[in-house]
Assembly symmetry: C2
Homo-oligomer: 201 residues x 2
């Protein structure tokens, strides 16, 4: 016997397909699952099939939704003239937590990455442009990540947005609040300097 | 909306219970599962329930088994007089890969860890001692990990084994083959010196 009995090996293989789960972790998780009570394992398996069966994407903004539209698109109090473009649904959670934004979102479901073959066609880009006029959008806030992929994506959208004549803004890059100049990397520090704002004391 | 729709949150919570999967990884895995084809997700869920339903522990050595006994215990060619004691089934795989061992195994399903409340009663210790006479075991090789828990467990077994009058051995600690003295930690180097063997040139 050089490998595990087949159901164990299959389980390890399947777990190993999850992002960020290497062979060692897959093995550890499999062993854990085989040791704990069957009820707990059933609950995990059910949560997977249940989420997959019930959750789909909002047909307007591509956030997670249980019905046709997500809770934010269903909420009349949200300002439809300001649209915040994010890469993933999880970014919506982060922005909602700030309590600073009352507009709507558009989830691209990724960022442009030519090396990985992810271009505008692989993202919800057409769907974004199609929203501008019907929803009377006045400002598009580009909240893609401040890394290469996110910047490229933001640049692309800004360029494509020109004909629409709407205001396009990008979230600020700079030092984290409570951070320390000493520990800031030079790129971030450079951006922080570039984005400096006048103080009226 | 400050959190995800309920099935997504439940999925993240359940994934986060897996060992080594923190909240961020759980989120990433959940998002991944919601994006990939439903068939792939169904396969993952099935592998979990299937393994849990079909895999049990060998009633003799506590290795994984699909029936009463594991493939190693079922194999007549294995020498029942040499018993290798390991913490987990995965250790059996590692040892089998060396091709150096033809005896049988005993899986403790863990190691002693008084701080975590894991004593001999929480492990398959009684079951180990009960095998010695009926299986006519002549040598017990202690292959628990060379860390604190594994050492404590090995010491305990060695002491409990005295009345049986069988040979009890411990795997060697030392420098890894192909390793470099410069990078060895002092504990390992100390053990390597202590376990030095005479060379007959």
């Amino acid at each position: 016997m050089a490998v595990y009995t087949q159901p164990v090996q299959t389980l390890i293989d399947e777990l190993g397909r999850m992002p960020g789960v290497g062979p060692k972790s897959a093995q550890r998780i499999a062993f854990h699952l085989l040791k704990i009570p069957a009820d707990d394992v059933a609950r995990l398996a059910l949560s997977i099939t249940d989420a997959k069966a019930r959750v789909r994407f909002c047909t307007r903004c591509w956030n997670f939704a249980e019905g046709e539209l997500c809770p934010i698109c269903l909420d009349d109090r949200r300002d439809s003239t300001v649209l915040c473009v994010v890469e993933e649904s999880r970014d919506i959670i982060s922005i909602e937590k700030t309590g600073e934004f009352t507009g709507r979102y558009h989830v691209l479901l990724g960022a442009m990455n030519p090396l990985d073959g992810v271009g505008p066609e692989q993202l919800k880009m057409k769907e974004l442009f199609a929203r501008i006029e019907p929803e009377d959008v006045q400002e598009v806030i580009l909240c893609t990540n401040p890394n290469t992929e996110g910047e490229v994506t933001a640049m692309y959208i800004a360029r494509m947005m020109k004909p629409f004549g709407v205001k396009v803004t990008r979230i600020a890059s700079g030092l984290p609040v409570g951070g320390d100049l000493e520990y800031a990397d030079e790129l971030t520090l450079g951006r922080a300097l570039e984005g400096r704002r006048e103080l009226h004391g």
